[in-house]
Amino acid sequence: MTTNDLSRAIGPRSARKALGDIVRVGTYAALILWTLGQVLPLAFLFINAFKTDAQIVLYPLSLPDSPHFENFTRMLFEGSIYQPMAPYLVNSFIVTGLTLAFLTTVSAMAAFGLSRYSFPGRELIYRLVLLTLAVPVHAALIPVFVLMGTLGLRNNLIGIALLYSAFWLPLTVVVLRAYFSSFPSEVIDAARVDGASEFRMFRQIVIPMSRGAISSMAIVNFVGIWSELLFAFIILNKSTSQTITVGLLGYTSQYATDHALVFAAMAAATLPTLLFYLVFQRQITRGMTMGAIR
């Protein structure tokens, strides 16, 4: 049915409007479908985490008969064929927390230095930072393994936090540099006139005013650090130091016949990032945008 046919039937303006309505409704339906598509698989994940293994296999799409919280307690605290996940969760929190602490401090300082001062080598250093963004992690994998061994930092949560900080630096520095470039000069000048040292000025004036940008970057980096796999599974080789992403692998291995535990483990690995997001989602959108628009 073309616009012409429709026009002839009900008049041109109505025709255009009708076609426009169909397109609008169609598009909106597509958007709804996309939303469902985005949300339902995650709903599937969380619902199945409460079913028993048999229920998951036989009735994957139905609701559980009753919420089987024991999936979570078993997954978190029992040994048996799988490792208990609770220590892994704790390690993930530690590593992510430490990394964010190092990362935000160091990158804020570096970004500030790069944006507010001119010194020989500034452009070069900036280009270098930008270029390391382009480098694949895998390129450094094997030497990093050897290096961490030499430094005695394998299985050391502080060690891996330092490693992560180094790799997440480029993106954070680039974004914060853009942010600091737009920072109002008057504030900085005023602080300098008062005789404060550069560092004190940075710490007491600039940082507090930049909390929004810094926390946005922290949130953006959170999920990447939390779910980092390659380095974690090569460098953390004692079960006492492993993170939950590594632990999750064990649930997908050949001994994993209990689907309920797999789903419970995935739910436990995902919940912190989702909660983080839902609470701070406005900050994230701010964090994402600052880097691209520069």
Binding site: V90, G97, S215, F222, I234, S239, V246, Q254
Partner: protein, 478 residues
């Protein structure tokens, strides 16, 4: 860039975000980390572990501290009580069990690096063959020779000759000792389902179809009854490859097989080529299985665990799996009401008797240049002693490798299915397949090819050519 940031709200949120994470982290870091010194889970039996863990013995100050690495899964299950027993009974030796990788693939790939680093344990469980890097570790001097123990403990008599041959490294020394073994690949079936549809399964003393046509006919009957045929974990590739080795055994005379296996230990590659027509016939038999719809629908996308579930829920009438599936924690647990029977893949050549293929590469090794090699060896002696191995037998999950295991103990702890299969080992005879012992790269290639053979993207001849090329690279020392 104008921005309507509200510093007040941002500050609170900022404090929340980084502060909470870091604080939680610091508090948790100060708390004693849940370590593997006191193993969780209680009794070693198959019953769900709900009893509190045994009180961990306090380390006597003069005790030698040993670390023992293992993979997860049934091994970890079996070692935890063994470690406890040792620690409780020893005044001057204390062992900590460590599980470096939650996933077998990760453990296989990463453990050798650990063995070469300052993090190395005193002893460890690891594979001999099986795509692992035992040969490399031995070649690079990372493993302690155990010849003296083989002699003094009588290990040179406690294991089948074939196993001993496999464990002997090219330089004539033993760098590992067998712990448990598995065999493959029986075909499990649901007896009740078969009876209901009037299908007969071959039984002892020759639990196999005499010709492959009989087997195909049985599969047709199963399909006619509305069931799916042979469930197998095609997505993980290795189940297909090791099943393919069964078919190869049926077509390749034993001296060729022996060469394959022995060469795997000696130089890593066999004298015979994969392009030997008899070997190609084995590959072709595998392709024919696919063409005759022996494999269940959707095999290439079905992971190992899902294949078991597919059988356990009665959708497929048969499951191709290893001896581990008959362990009490596996199939019998997944399908508690099923009366599970077993038989073997059909005979393909009237002159070659089917054998049960065993993989005896579940091994224990002591790391070289450690501080406590003598103490580690003592612990090792304990682990593979007859008493310990009898205990393993009674656990009903793994099969001890020693030939002098107490059969009654075995019967007591294992399901009737497992006992049945175990007793067949001696009457039917066993063999070690190449795919289990060859070097990593050709074996991995073989795994990939087993998938490609089924979906038609490679022919047996082309596959053989590639395998030969991979072996040539190793012969050339690359």
């Amino acid at each position: 860039m104008t921005d309507s940031l509200n510093p007040q709200i941002s500050r609170r949120k900022f404090l929340y975000a980084t502060g909470a994470t870091a604080a939680a982290g610091l508090i948790a870091a100060c708390a004693p980390a849940a370590s593997s010194v006191a193993p969780s889970g209680g009794a070693p039996s198959a019953a769900p572990a709900s009893s509190p863990p045994p009180p961990s013995p306090s380390t006597p100050p003069s005790a030698v501290k040993l670390t023992f690495d293992s993979n997860t899964g049934p091994n970890a299950e079996r070692y935890k009580p063994a470690v406890d027993l040792w620690n409780a009974s020893q005044a001057n030796s204390f062992v900590t069990l460590n599980l470096p990788s939650p996933d077998d693939n990760a453990y296989k790939a990463n453990f050798p690096q650990i063995a070469a680093s300052s993090d190395k344990p005193d002893l460890a469980w690891y594979w001999v063959g099986g795509g692992g890097r035992h040969a490399s570790m031995a070649k690079n001097g990372l493993l302690e020779p155990l010849d003296d123990l083989y002699a003094s403990e009588g290990w040179d008599k406690a294991y089948p000759q074939q196993t001993l041959d496999l464990y002997r490294s090219p330089d004539g020394h033993y760098y590992a000792v067998p712990d448990t073994f598995v065999f493959h690949t029986p075909i499990y079936y649901d007896k009740a389902l078969f009876a209901k549809h009037g299908i007969e399964a071959p039984a002892m003393p020759t639990p196999w179809h005499k010709t492959v046509e009989e087997f195909y006919a049985m599969c047709d009957k199963i399909r006619a009854a509305g069931l799916d045929t042979l469930s197998i974990g095609g997505k993980d590739a290795w189940p297909l490859a090791i099943m393919k080795d069964d078919l190869t055994q049926r077509l390749v005379p034993s001296e060729v097989q022996v060469d394959y296996v022995a060469a795997a230990v000696a130089g890593g590659v066999p004298k015979y080529k994969f392009s030997d027509p008899r070997f190609i016939a084995g590959q072709q038999a595998f392709v024919d299985y696919g063409k005759k719809k022996v494999f269940a629908d959707g095999t290439l996308g079905r992971a190992f665990a899902d294949a078991q579930a597919y059988f356990a829920t009665g959708k497929a009438a048969m499951l191709s799996d290893g001896s581990w599936a008959a362990g009490s924690g596996s199939l019998p647990k997944l399908a508690p009401n099923m009366d599970i029977g077993w038989f073997m893949h059909p005979q393909l050549d009237p002159t070659i008797a089917p054998k049960i293929l065993t993989y005896a590469g579940n091994a224990l090794m002591v790391m070289a240049d450690g501080k406590n090699t003598e103490a580690a060896k003592e612990f090792l002696k304990f682990l593979v002693s007859k008493e310990q191995q009898d205990m393993v037998a009674s656990l009903g999950v793994l099969i001890p490798a020693r030939t002098d295991v107490d059969v009654e103990a075995f019967k007591k702890g294992n399901t009737p299915l497992m006992v049945d299969m175990f007793s067949a080992l001696n009457t039917v005879g066993t063999f070690g397949p190449w795919g289990d012992y060859g070097p990593a790269e050709p074996v991995q290639l073989d795994y990939t090819h087993s998938q490609k053979l089924l979906d038609g993207s490679i022919t047996p001849a082309a596959s053989a050519a590639e395998l030969d090329a991979a072996c040539d690279k190793i012969r050339a020392g690359e």
